[in-house]
């Protein structure tokens, strides 16, 4: 792009969003070039610059987003939507330059609807601010991911995020009632006013998880819930993983706890020991159950009876309460894995008849093919039909050459995810795909991928929306 053309485009973007909300400054380009993706962090750590946007724009609403997308389509320049930048998959990195569209000025909370129990909000609102707004009226969003304080409503929707209380309250895709979306051609659309209907396929679920490749989510109605009368915790120690899986599966046929987290013996001996203080060998499982006290009393009895059948040692409430208090502390610098280590979380999901095998096969594949890597896991989101593995690899001795480090990183990821796919798992449970796993989407979906490709081609014929993400 010539300087002249760049200046021309900048003036049009300034006209669309206001001069102070369109930047070509180095500070804005740099801060939008690195997200939570390990490769972008490693690249910056080695003193290398990640790809930079040409323009960073911060529109105030759907109307301004529409103008930006029309300009981008005319000049055929890429648009990468940026919410909080806390994604782990490189989804927000402007790998092809062009425009970064930062959504955080679209942070207005429009309505707290206590009759229908939702908050209508701009997609750029930080989720914690939604939680505060709900709390002020005595409610909660019940969305408590580790990135609650850093990520936006749109960011969670874009990659199908999840919080720790998902078993009872659902994933982010269960919490969205309706969306406002700006299509790549600049048209502003609304999905249906109710999320359950028989008026064709679910438009919400086309855009949720599309990672900015099909349009920009600008507004959303997100569910809120009554605060529970009581919330109780119970920690358990299992001597083998099979018993733990079976206990969890059986419990889910009876009632839905809010939190269910099972840590494998390796993670129990490391993270759980460090943060929660469990100094025992085995697999630690934390269960939270909450709601109306009368029901919680019944649930507690069912929980204890069920887990006793699987020889779980009841550790009482202390560790669970500590876990709840520290649930975000795990992710602060100094507690999490950090550079110079290489690490990744290959969260996958599968039905119960496959999940344990996937865990053992992935562990074997990583530890056999990459002896320099450690493998730890926990199982943090459970359903009646299956659960997810939050499995991590950690490499302490990382190649100094950044390109070599990148290759090793991608090799480990490909090996792990292909093993999951081969055994009935999914590319990803809740971190999304981004540029990190795009190459594996076709392996996951086979001919079904043409559905996504067809949508992409029809909605974004110039291919400007978040190119090279989601395998599209």
């Amino acid at each position: 792009m010539t300087d002249f053309l760049q200046t021309m485009i900048a003036s049009e973007l300034e006209d669309a969003v206001g001069r102070e909300n369109c930047s070509m400054h180095e500070i804005d380009k740099l801060t939008h070039s690195v997200d939570y993706f390990w490769l972008s962090r490693m690249w910056a750590d080695r003193g290398r610059l990640m790809p930079l946007a040409d323009f960073v724009v911060s529109p105030a609403d759907a109307r301004e987003v529409s103008k930006v997308l029309q300009i981008a389509n005319y000049y055929k320049i890429p648009v990468t939507t940026w919410g909080g930048g806390g994604g782990t998959q490189g989804g927000a990195i402007p790998v092809a330059g062009g425009i970064v569209l930062d959504t955080k000025r679209m942070n207005k909370i429009y309505d707290i609807n206590e009759q229908s129990m939702y908050i209508e909000t701009g997609a750029g609102a930080i989720y914690k601010h939604l939680e505060w707004a709900a709390n002020e009226r005595g409610y909660s969003t019940m969305h408590f991911p580790s990135s609650l304080t850093c990520s936006t409503v749109g960011g969670f929707l874009a990659h199908r995020g999840i919080g720790v209380s998902s078993t009872k309250y659902g994933k982010i895709d269960d919490m969205a009632l309706s969306l406002e979306v700006v299509l790549p051609n600049g048209q502003i659309i609304n999905t249906s006013p109710a999320p359950k209907h028989a008026a064709g396929p679910d438009l919400n679920q086309i855009f949720i998880g599309s990672e900015g490749t099909l349009g920009v989510i600008t507004k959303a109605q997100m569910r809120i819930y009554e605060q529970p009368e009581c919330r109780r915790f119970r920690g358990f120690l299992f001597q083998n993983m099979t018993d733990a899986f079976n206990a969890g599966r059986e419990l889910l046929q009876k009632f839905k706890p809010s939190v269910m987290r099972l840590y494998d013996p390796a993670e129990t001996a490391s993270l759980i020991k460090k943060i929660v203080g469990v100094e025992r060998s085995g697999a630690f499982m934390n269960i939270a159950y909450e709601g109306v006290e009368e029901l919680v009393n019944v649930e507690e009895k069912i929980l204890l009876d069920t887990f006793a059948k699987y020889h779980a040692e009841d550790l009482g409430s202390e560790y669970g309460e500590k876990w709840w208090k520290e649930k975000i502390t795990f992710f602060y610098p100094g507690h999490m894995m950090d550079l110079p280590q290489m690490f990744g979380t290959m969260d996958t999901i599968a039905p119960y008849d496959k999940i344990e095998k996937i865990y053992w096969e992935m562990k074997k594949a990583i530890e056999t093919n990459f002896p320099m890597a450690r493998f730890i896991a926990h199982f943090s989101h459970w359903y009646e039909w299956g659960c997810m593995i939050y499995d991590r690899f950690i490499v302490d001795d990382v190649p100094q050459d950044p390109a070599e480090a990148l290759r090793l990183h991608n090799d480990i990821w490909s090996c792990g995810v292909r093993t999951a796919l081969a055994n009935g798992g999914v590319v990803n449970d809740h971190h999304g795909v981004g540029i990190k796993l795009g190459r594996l989407m076709k392996e996951q979906y086979g001919p079904a991928m043409q559905v996504f490709e067809g949508l992409k081609k029809e909605l974004d014929p110039n291919g400007i929306m978040n190119p090279f993400k989601l395998g599209l």
């Binding site: 180095e26 801060t31 290398r48 000025r105 930080i126 304080t149 602060y332 610098p333 950090d338």
Partner: protein
Amino acid sequence: MYFNKKSSDTMDACRFCWMCRHICPIGNATGQERNTARARALTLSLVKRDAAKLDGDIVDNLYECALCGGCTNDCATGWDPVSLTKDARLAAAINGQLPSYVEKLLDNHDKTGNIYGRTCKDSILSDIIKTLPGKADILLFLGADAVYHTPAKAIEAIDLLKKSGTVFTVFDDEPDSGYSYDFLIGSAEETRSMMAATADKLNGTGALKIICYDPADAKVFRHEYKEYGIRLNAEIITYPAFIKSLISDNILQIKKSETVFTFQDPALLARDLEDTESARYVLDACGNRREMLQCGKGTMLGGNLIMNEYLPNVMKLVADNRIANALHVSAENLVTASPAEYLLLRAAAGDKINVITLEEAVLSCL
């Protein structure tokens, strides 16, 4: 580019961590990614690695932080982005990379003794100060923000002390505490020299107790002076803490009213000086109190007058957000305890809520 070890460690810890984003009053107001502790740490870490230079808009970004300490207070691991930002401002000063608007404020101080460049004080305030004893065991330190921006409030602060029968003095030519220099250029030699000169003047009064009307001054007297090895002989006490003692000792007789107050904790008072209860004690004596979102140590900044000199639009957005928080609790009065927040919140409030000072609340209940 050289950064000390603490700063170097902080930038490497914070550069990929967004956990405090929700608490930043500036980032929440502007919606700009650069207004996060993480963005500042990331760019400084790139400077450290010679991938970027500490100049231009990277330096500008250092001055988009109010140093309110919300991020530091919120960090579960104890990292301190405020200290990093101050260190980077010092590095920019040493390298001759200060923005022109910062140079202008420093020039103002050279010429007028205050960074606002004001050449004369409010005449009524001057006249009232002249009526006070020239020497006393208690010195009321008003601070530059009060003297030059809210003199009427300074007069009320004096009035309340007089009504309590307290014998005190106020400087007719009050020296700068050094807060403004510390804010702009950190621990530079100029800052330390200014603080040392002010300490000499304060010690020369023989006062046993210094009541700081502005928490910013109390903060540097208590912390930075000690850090820089500058000794103050007098006890430093904040204005809310002193008023509290007057009420609890029954020196001030308060008639409790039905008025509803909500208190805007000044960030430096709540976090650096760890006093969240004095003002609440006073307000509880005066009427009823409701707490707004993010109060106490978790307070959100309502405004900063130094930044208002070069980022007035941002300060307006910051104040607008805090007014919105206050309106949510349906209080009649938003009570402030820093001149900067009084001025900026009052401007943002319009007729939506009464913005008053702590002394106004007390004076209305005598």
